[in-house]
């Protein structure tokens, strides 16, 4: 067992999201809409020493396997993340996040003059660029601080 794994408790069934950029763990939870209210056991390691990243965050979610859609979205803020699906304390699957072509209903457009902010019955949709995302309606490009624009 590595030093990193010791810092956050082992889980029986669920998902370990490793190699999250240091300081982004809470954003990962927000992105996955995990606020503790639905009862999952969640463990966080923040600013954990990492050989490859210097420092990193680790998120462990007990009793929940992330869907592909959630992984796609996760790729926007944690492009280096590795995902371990845990079953009976063993790593059953290892996955990497892959950026999707578009994300819908995850981020709000920061442009106040965008039609998606005008009370229309539409989910904001963004095309994923090599750096950042772009509103499919008003074409505003968001490069930095994507998590500031997460839909509540």
């Amino acid at each position: 067992m590595t030093d990193t794994e010791l810092r956050v408790s082992k889980i029986r069934n669920g998902t370990v999201i490793d190699h999250v950029n240091a300081g982004e763990a809470l954003h990962v939870l927000a992105l996955l809409d995990i606020d503790g209210a639905s009862g999952e056991t969640v463990s966080l390691g923040m600013n954990v020493p990492s050989q490859t990243m210097g420092k990193k965050d680790v998120v462990k979610v007990e009793g929940r396997e992330l869907s592909q859609n959630e992984l796609d979205v996760l790729s926007l803020i944690a492009p280096d993340a590795t995902i371990n699906i845990i079953r009976e304390y063993e790593v059953a699957e290892k996955k990497h996040v892959e950026p999707p072509e578009t994300v819908s209903g995850v981020l709000a457009c920061p442009n106040p003059d965008c039609i998606t902010n005008a009370g229309e019955p539409v989910q904001p949709r963004f095309d994923v660029l090599s750096e950042g995302v772009r509103c499919a309606y008003c074409e505003t490009i968001v490069r930095d601080d994507l998590t500031d624009h997460l839909l509540a």
């Binding site: 003059d113 539409v122 509103c135």
Partner: protein, 300 residues
């Protein structure tokens, strides 16, 4: 053109553009000869923001083709005032008309509308976004005056919020054009447009002063700088005068420089230029009718 909608100039290929401009030439040569062309056409004009010339030129174009229009009327007098969504409005109007021409103050409105209806949607201006039918008439005018290849064009004024500028810049990437963007720092092209121009490999330069580039230009495309775009009056006054064009400004311009403007102008172009060979803005406006006839013809 084999598109269902005209939402941005980006979607148009060079061949699409040339086909519309060629057709527009035929319509311009004899505007009254095509009355039997689309007698079935009923065009819905949905203007959520006032516009005299864009609306009238679409109306004229539809009628010149033998068709007719239905007009949503002003926003004040419509159900929009009661809080109806755009999505609902266009779904209702889809049942009345063969195509929808949409002008809206919000960016992305035409894109949204196109996702809710099966009839063609023509974006006639969506906030600071796009105005592709204006671009077609701009290109028509440029082609008539300077040609569309080996073109040096200066685009001056409010490049940040100017939707006609955004559409024109996209379309010019399909041709061999050198685009010079001239604006105050605070009104430079938005990031999204720069991104597209870069992706398209466009030949683009940015300037704060017109003097640097004026002698090389075939076309100078002037847009209005609106006072309300500036954080304070002082900032506005610093730049406003700098970008007004008069005979003195043009001292070092080429004799065949063509000056364009999507109109209405306020004080960007001195009236003393109206009778000179440089003034292309009125014929530019007139070109709106044959070009929109050709556009409607291609969508129907």
């Amino acid at each position: 053109m084999r598109h269902d909608h005209l939402l941005t100039a980006k979607q148009l290929t060079r061949a699409d553009i040339e086909a519309v401009l060629d057709r527009a030439r035929e319509f311009a040569d004899d505007p009254s000869a095509f009355r039997e062309r689309h007698p079935e056409l009923l065009l819905a004009l949905c203007f959520f923001e006032p516009s005299t010339r864009t609306k009238m030129s679409f109306e004229t174009a539809a009628k010149r083709l033998g068709g007719d229009v239905v007009d949503m009327g002003s926003v004040e007098s419509s159900s929009v005032k009661k809080g109806e969504s755009l999505a609902d409005t266009v779904r209702v109007i889809e049942g009345y008309a063969d195509a929808i021409v949409l002008r809206h103050p919000k960016q992305g409105a035409a894109q949204l509308a196109s996702e809710y209806v099966d009839v063609p949607v023509v974006n006639a201006g969506d906030g600071a976004g796009h105005h592709p039918s204006q671009t077609l008439l701009d290109l028509y005018t440029i082609r008539e005056n300077a040609g569309l290849d080996d073109l040096s064009i200066g685009i001056l004024g409010d490049l940040k919020y100017g939707r006609t500028v955004h559409s024109l810049a996209h379309a010019l990437t399909k041709f061999d054009a050198r685009q010079h963007f001239i604006s105050p720092e605070s009104l430079k092209l938005p990031r999204g447009v720069r991104y597209d121009l870069h992706e398209a490999g466009a030949n683009v330069r940015e300037h704060e002063s017109l003097d640097d580039v004026l002698p090389n230009l075939d076309v100078l495309y002037v847009t209005r700088i609106q006072r309300e775009r500036f954080p304070d009056e002082e900032e506005y006054r610093k730049v406003a005068g700098k970008y007004s064009i008069d005979t003195e400004t043009l001292e070092h311009a080429r004799d065949d420089l063509s000056i364009m403007h999507p109109l209405p102008r306020v004080d960007e172009i001195a009236p003393e230029l109206d009778d000179t060979g440089h003034a292309t803005y009125f014929s530019q406006a007139h070109n709106g009718v044959p070009v929109r006839m050709a556009l409607l013809d291609s969508l129907l």
